[in-house]
């Protein structure tokens, strides 16, 4: 298992020393969400209504930013080849990189989201459900995103292509993530939505690892 944690640590240390993908993602997240009250107007009723959707959409876009570099830089400098020939299965390497990516982008979003939600006048019951939904949803986004990142390794204009491939697959997470908060705000049970989000996580974990590992094997052939 040490190889696994070494990869996680390496990715985090490298991102930290290079000025941080995580920092970029969170800045992007904050600025995007800030644009909405300025565009829609500061009326608290409207903001509370569209708040969950705005924060979720901004979170989806923020996770896209760091995906392009998830495998691309390692592919270019050859470290991906080295990781592939270690005794560690490539699936575990991908899982380690997903975990590092989530710690760098997903976790900071999770910390920033409640602050933004309060700025958008989301009520208190909604807030707890919102954070839970984000905690269940953001790992799914990383696993789905890993598929797109692995498929576009070595492609022309990989970033734009990645967006085209990944965003349609993000839609279920968005629907149930927003649905959970809206259910909580309107006094219904948020549990079904949260259970679906958990199910999506359990589905995207194997699917994402399988598909991105297969794509990486092809890229390394």
């Amino acid at each position: 298992m040490t190889g696994f944690w070494l990869i996680v640590r390496r990715d985090i240390v490298m991102a930290w020393r290079q000025g941080g993908d995580g920092l970029m993602a969170i800045m992007f997240f904050l600025i995007t969400v800030t644009l909405f009250p300025l565009g829609v107007g500061p009326e608290s009723g409207i903001l509370a209504r569209i708040g969950p959707a705005v924060v979720w959409v901004a979170a989806l876009l923020a996770t896209l930013l760091s995906l392009e570099r998830m495998f691309q830089t390692d592919f270019e400098d050859g470290s991906l080849d080295l990781m592939a020939i270690t005794p560690l299965p490539l699936e575990a390497v991908v899982l380690a990189k997903c975990l590092a990516n989530w710690l760098l982008t997903g976790a900071p979003l999770l910390l920033a989201a409640p602050v933004l939600a309060m700025m958008l006048h989301m009520d208190r019951e909604g807030l707890a459900v919102f954070v839970t939904a984000m905690a269940l949803g953001t790992p799914s986004l990383v696993f789905i995103g890993a598929i797109g990142a692995a498929l576009t390794v070595g492609a022309h204009r990989g970033g734009v292509l990645l967006t085209l491939l990944v965003l349609p697959l993000y839609i279920p997470v968005l629907i149930f993530g927003v649905g959970a908060v809206e259910a909580a705000v309107t006094g219904q049970s948020a549990q079904p939505h949260l259970l679906v989000l958990g199910g999506l996580l359990l589905g995207t974990l194997p699917l994402g690892l399988w598909a991105s590992t297969a794509a990486l094997r092809q890229a390394l052939e």
Binding site: L151, R157, L161, L165, P168, L169
Partner: protein, 251 residues
């Protein structure tokens, strides 16, 4: 299945099948349009605009059918490295994207008089729109690499991942309360549609399938020939370099 892996054998079979499938397409399309536009009755509620159905429904079926074919071809390509399967997936994607677009466009034209709007954010419409995005992503990914075979292999993984959307499209009308009507042809208790409307619908579906086979053969043939020309050019360049090799090095 592996007997058809040989491109030359495929080209021979294709040359036999192509005239028949082309003739079948024209005949069925003629018959289907005649039945749909002239013979079948107008709907008592929807009037003449019900005739949009005879394009819309078969196109939507084809959108799903071609995606399933594409995913099956991709699976074959990944598992057995079948040389034609990659090309079949690549050749299917634009056809499927066109049928998806036709289904969306005719649905929109039909929706305006029936629902009062060009577009509603209904589960069926949204999931078909996502299917369209998958076709677009597949085409973009196929052509995104300098090495064509790398693009085809990457796209085949994407095609398999995109299969998660197919059941969502199929059962979206049952899982959610939608404006789009539920399935009325393939049901446990038989089709809920009168025979005078069912017949043209099935003929049109058969015509679209024959059209798919015809265009698929044409596109596959083009792909195989393009690849042959590519390798011929490559060997010619190599020959030329060998001839003028020592001379070039002196310069």
């Amino acid at each position: 299945m592996h007997r058809f892996a040989n491109p030359n054998r495929f080209l021979r079979i294709a040359a036999v099948v192509l005239p028949w499938s082309a003739a079948l397409t024209v005949a069925l399309l003629g018959l289907g349009l005649y039945l749909a536009l002239l013979v079948s009755p107008a709907d008592y509620q929807q009037g003449e605009s019900v005739r949009i159905m005879y394009i819309h429904v078969p196109a939507a079926w084809m959108a799903l059918f071609i995606y399933s074919c594409l995913a099956a071809a991709s699976a074959v390509a990944l598992i057995w490295k079948h040389p034609l399967a990659d090309l079949a997936a690549k050749a299917s994607a634009p056809i499927g994207a066109c049928f998806t677009f036709i289904a969306l466009a005719t649905g929109s034209i039909w929706g305006k008089p029936m629902w009062g709007d060009w577009w509603v954010w209904d589960a069926r419409l949204t999931s078909v729109l996502i299917l369209f995005f998958f076709y677009m992503g597949h085409m973009a990914l196929t052509s995104a690499f300098e090495d064509a075979s790398r693009g085809e292999r990457a796209a085949s993984i994407l095609a398999l991942v995109g299969m998660v959307n197919i059941p969502v499209v199929k059962w979206s009308v049952d899982w959610w309360n939608t404006l789009h009507q539920p399935a009325s042809i393939v049901r446990m208790d038989g089709p809920a549609i009168h025979a005078s409307m069912l017949a043209p619908l099935l003929v049109m579906a058969a015509a679209f399938t024959a059209y798919y086979v015809t265009v698929l053969i044409l596109r596959l043939r083009g792909e195989i020939l393009a690849r042959k020309i590519g390798s011929l050019r490559l060997t010619r360049i190599q020959d030329r370099q060998e001839e003028s090799g020592p001379h070039m090095r002196e310069v």
